[in-house]
């Protein structure tokens, strides 16, 4: 039922006044009584998981995605869409670079324009410490086969002309640049995966909140789910619920190494193209790029306390804006249009958790915290393989929940204090 997009279909619809477009994915009102795999959470990661399950692991059977609100309405539709893979440790570089390689070509694969734009992500160094850490990153990334290069202040200015490198408050001592990094259109990622998954037979049920996880009284294995739209039987469940993961895992009796925090972003009024790349400044917690609509997209930091309020303190936003105004004085008089918050699930080592759990049949993909959008295709791909085979995909294996017991943490927080 999905139309193939192309010049012909566009031209035909243009002549017919665009009245012929049909919904791009099936959205059954209610779930079936039973499935073979249920994915809880219709964000980018959950939808990508369902897509790769249906595409590469057909034998798993009937698949559903249950979403309590609307697809992409969680962090997927609230994020600042920065994509990069220059993380410090080899395990992370492998995971995030797997995703970047999938981003390249994703629009073709899904026949849906996700507007992946590898325009370069530049991270500013404001102190000697920053400079040393970033240079170490550049070398580590090169050893891992991931591109990352060191720029002098003048080179950084040439790459991003609005940047004030002589900024007195936050001087720019140099920058690390990943040219293959960039941005993508967040909604399109959710919609593209939904459309492609639906075409392969996946049921996507919206406004269907999971309220309970049923387990076999003897072996403890999962047997199904309670939802606001009835009971669903299923032997395999993949929880991909970002900030709500602790709440879902508690339904199966598990405590998680997670805390949920509000993270905010805001956009300016739209202006003509002025900003050619993505600039991040971790030291001052500000991130900026320009959307195709012309808005400056600005990311702020997290609130200091765990919360599900999806709001966040105004002082966190003004802190980010103060830094943006110092670093890009030309934006001082721009007006901001709106701000919003999302609830991010952070782990103690700031790396995600992907894999099996102590509950048979229950799988989890979470802990992406402030920076999981970039990983969406790779995360879905390796998680699908993990659910289908019951054993971790090699790229996912180091990110297992057990690492908090064995002590093999992947401490990207200590490595860089990098947020997105």
């Amino acid at each position: 039922m999905t139309t193939r997009f192309g010049l012909l279909s566009l031209a035909r619809e243009a002549l017919r006044g665009h009245r012929g477009w049909a919904p791009q994915w099936r959205s059954p009102e209610r779930p079936q009584p039973a499935y073979d795999v249920v994915i809880v959470g219709g964000g980018g990661h959950g939808l990508a998981t369902a897509y790769y399950l249906a595409k590469e692991h057909r034998h798993v059977g009937r698949i559903a995605v249950l979403e309590k609100g609307w697809i992409g309405g969680g962090n997927t539709g609230r994020n600042t869409t920065i994509i990069r893979s220059n993380y410090l440790f080899p395990e992370s570089a492998a995971l995030y670079d797997h995703a970047v390689r999938l981003w390249d070509g994703l629009s073709r694969e899904l026949d849906y324009n996700v507007m992946f734009s590898p325009r370069g992500v530049m991270m500013l160094a404001h102190s000697v410490h920053d400079e040393q850490v970033f240079r170490r990153h550049v070398h580590a990334n090169r050893l891992d086969g991931v591109d990352n290069e060191w720029l002098t202040p003048a080179q950084a200015k040439a790459f991003c002309p609005p940047l004030d490198i002589a900024c007195a408050r936050y001087p720019v001592l140099g920058a690390a640049l990943q040219r293959r990094g960039g941005v993508a259109r967040h909604d399109a990622v959710a919609w593209g995966y939904a459309r492609a998954a639906s075409a392969l037979g996946v049921d996507i049920i919206q406004e269907c909140e999971v309220t309970g996880i049923a387990r076999d009284p003897r072996g403890g294995a999962v047997t199904g789910l309670e939802t606001t739209k009835g009971t669903v039987r299923c032997p395999r469940i993949g929880v991909v619920a970002a900030g709500s993961t602790s709440l879902l895992m508690a339904m199966a009796g598990l405590r998680m190494p997670l805390e949920s925090f509000p993270l905010q972003a805001l956009v300016s009024e739209p202006v003509k193209p002025v900003f050619p790349c993505v600039v991040m400044s971790n030291t001052v917690h500000a991130y900026i790029s320009q959307s195709d609509k012309g808005e400056l997209v600005i990311g702020a930091g997290t609130d200091g306390y765990n919360s599900y309020s999806q709001a966040g303190g105004v002082q966190v936003l003004s802190h980010a804006l103060e830094a943006v105004c110092e670093l890009f004085p030309t934006f001082r008089r721009m007006r901001m249009l709106r701000s919003w918050g999302g609830i991010v699930d952070t782990t103690p080592d700031r790396s995600p958790i992907i894999g099996t759990t102590p509950v048979p049949g229950l799988f989890v993909n979470c802990g992406w915290g402030t920076g999981g959008f970039k990983a969406t295709p790779g995360s879905g791909h390796v998680f699908a393989a993990t659910i289908a085979t019951g054993a971790p995909h090699p790229i996912a294996a180091p990110f297992a929940l057990e690492r908090f017991t064995t002590g093999r943490l992947i401490d990207e927080a200590a490595a860089a204090a990098v947020a997105h």
């Binding site: 602790s246 405590r255 190494p257 306390y305 309020s309 303190g313 002082q315 103690p348 017991t405």
Partner: protein
């Protein structure tokens, strides 16, 4: 921005404080007797509820002292703040 009542200094704005995570997590009395799983639970596993949360705060830009609070993580409303040596206040009825 939150308004937080330090049990010693009274109500002060949030930037004077630093959140210090879930409260009432006691360090194991006999560390050598703990299994790896016990350590993982003590160090890393957290309740992270949507609802009333007992948590620690520190008045870093004030008296410097730690205290406990009972806060709702859905509304961010405080029911109480209390000193470490005070009994835990009850969770509000409604």
């Amino acid at each position: 921005m939150l308004l937080i009542r330090c049990p010693w200094c009274g109500e002060r704005p949030e930037p004077e404080f630093r959140h210090a995570g879930e409260a009432h997590i006691a360090r194991p009395a006999d560390p050598a007797a703990q299994s790896d799983a016990d350590w993982a639970a003590y160090l890393y596993l957290r309740g992270n509820p949507r609802g009333w949360h007992r948590e620690r705060w520190r008045h870093v830009h004030g008296c410097g002292r730690f205290f406990n609070a009972l806060r709702h993580t859905g509304t961010d409303r405080f029911a109480a703040t209390y000193r470490p040596d005070e009994p835990r206040p009850d969770i509000p009825a409604a």
